[in-house]
């Protein structure tokens, strides 16, 4: 009886995880794409040395986001980790986090009057760390040097 309840609970969690997770992901991607178009004029570069007049003011701009997995992704990744191979269910998670972090960094840059960000770097952090029992979430931090043209 308890086993049956466990199985029902498991199926409910997986279904909720799948439906809610997929809905949230698709909505987030639409949001990301529209803002990427909107912020296309804030340029980002990995290069450390901009070839620009030294008169530009330099500011540190950063954007960070934490994205959580859902129950379904977690289950699929658990299965996948038995066999190895690409963790496809987590690819979109990291992709969203990276793009969202860049967008937040660009928003901050625009707020400070910067139109270009050089030396863009990423850092990621696994929120549960080594505690495998807590829900998985990933933080992505994007930061760089914003160049503000003097007024």
């Amino acid at each position: 009886m308890l086993d049956l309840l466990n199985i029902i609970l498991f199926c409910c969690l997986a279904t909720v995880g799948y439906v809610a997770g997929r809905f949230a992901e698709q909505r987030h991607y639409r949001f990301i794409r529209s803002r990427e178009r909107e912020l296309a004029d804030v340029l980002v570069f990995a290069s450390r040395f901009p070839v620009l007049p030294h008169a530009d003011k330099q500011v540190l701009v950063a954007g960070s986001v934490v994205i959580s997995e859902d129950y379904f992704k977690r289950m699929v990744s658990g299965l996948q980790s038995l066999f190895g191979g690409r963790l496809k269910s987590y690819e979109s998670l990291v992709d969203r986090a990276r793009r969202e972090a860049v967008l937040r960094m660009k928003e901050e840059a625009r707020a400070q009057g910067a139109r270009m960000i050089f030396n863009v770097k990423f850092q990621t952090f696994s929120i549960p760390g080594k505690n495998r029992n807590s829900g998985g979430a990933v933080e992505v931090l994007a930061y760089g040097t914003g160049l503000v043209r003097p007024a």
């Binding site: 086993d3 466990n6 199985i7 498991f10 799948y18 997929r22 794409r33 990427e36 296309a40 340029l43 980002v44 570069f45 070839v51 620009l52 007049p53 379904f72 992704k73 289950m75 699929v76 658990g78 299965l79 996948q80 038995l82 066999f83 690409r86 496809k88 269910s89 690819e91 979109s92 990291v94 992709d95 990276r98 139109r115 270009m116």
Partner: protein, 321 residues
């Protein structure tokens, strides 16, 4: 303005994400896992079955001690059954250390079973259906043979292996697997034997039966009675057949064995003691042995008694409600 030299061309969307549908991905993984689990369980079960039969009988007894509180308290009938079992094991000794304990379950179910630790349980319904002591002795000999051949341990080994395999899928319950598998609920009646094991137990049971009585008339009487029960009411098949499938193969195997060993299939049948018949009023009447002795002729009087017995049998659960 030199900033013109810099640009961020739009990147193609979704290059960092696999296009496979998540559900398809999931289905593939589950299918692969299931295939591996099924193979692993089959292999594990085969190994466990072989190993379990080599586990010392004392281990089985200590496992069985866990559910001793579920077994009914001894009474006159269980003492009589124990006596009959003791006579069977005296005629055909068990391996050293193996001990049979017979219990009587006061329920209308037409069944008997052997479980871990040499415990054999006989239901009232089965005793009431038995025409004479020889038929009952065949049932007991069959169940004792299961214990002799270590079938309960084998079956538990198989069950454990399957449980282990299933817990791989639901990894969360893996920790209390042992507790679940050995949990008192499933252990008492949860052991099932394969058809091969049933045939083996029939053979070994026949050996015991012929050792005790010098003939195997009891087996004939038992299967004849069971066949009558089976055909009397096809909608109310006794539980006995769900665990002891009665088919031609089984009956032929028994006849064949009796012929090969030159055991007389006819012999004197022993009626139940009067004290037992008084305690079980629904029991097939004492004329039962005459019925079984006459191999082909059944008079109407006996039929009526049998049907009477059946009706009472079927009413019993209703009254319990």
């Amino acid at each position: 303005m030199r900033a013109i030299e810099y640009s961020n061309p739009p990147l193609p969307d979704g290059i960092n994400v696999s296009r496979t549908h998540p559900l398809l991905d999931f289905a593939r993984l589950v299918a692969a896992l299931l295939a591996i689990t099924v193979i692993a369980v089959v292999v594990l079960a085969l190994v466990a079955e072989r190993l379990a039969a080599r586990v010392p009988f004392e281990v089985e007894q200590s496992l069985a001690a866990q559910f001793s509180d579920q077994l009914p308290v001894p009474n006159d009938i269980s003492r009589y059954l124990q006596g009959l079992a003791d006579r069977l094991t005296a005629a055909d000794p068990l391996p050293p250390g193996v001990k049979i304990t017979v219990h009587f379950m006061d329920e209308p179910t037409v069944n008997a079973f052997a479980t871990l630790g040499g415990h054999v349980v006989v239901y009232r319904g089965l005793m009431e259906a038995m025409p004479n002591e020889n038929a009952l002795a065949m049932v007991l000999a069959h169940e004792i043979a299961h214990v002799r051949l270590r079938h309960p341990a084998t079956s538990m080994g198989r069950g454990l292996a399957v449980g282990l395999g299933l817990s791989v899928i639901s990894a969360g319950t893996g920790d209390n697997l042992a507790a679940q598998a050995l949990g008192s609920a499933g252990l008492l009646t949860g052991l099932s034997f394969s058809r091969e094991q049933e045939l083996e137990a029939d053979e070994a049971g026949l050996v015991s039966l012929s050792a005790l009585y010098g003939h195997v008339q009891g087996a004939d009487a038992l299967f004849q009675r069971m066949a009558e029960l089976l055909f009397a009411d096809e909608y109310r098949v006794p539980a006995f057949f769900s665990t002891h499938p009665l088919d031609e193969e089984r009956i032929y195997a028994i006849q064949d064995l009796a012929e090969r060993n030159r055991w007389p299939s006819q012999g004197e049948l022993t009626p139940f003691p009067e004290a037992i018949r008084i305690q079980l009023p629904a029991m097939t009447s004492g004329e039962g042995e005459d019925d079984s002795l006459s191999a082909d002729g059944e008079d109407d009087g006996v039929r009526d008694v049998e049907e009477h017995g059946l009706v009472e049998d079927s009413q019993a659960p209703d009254q319990a409600k």
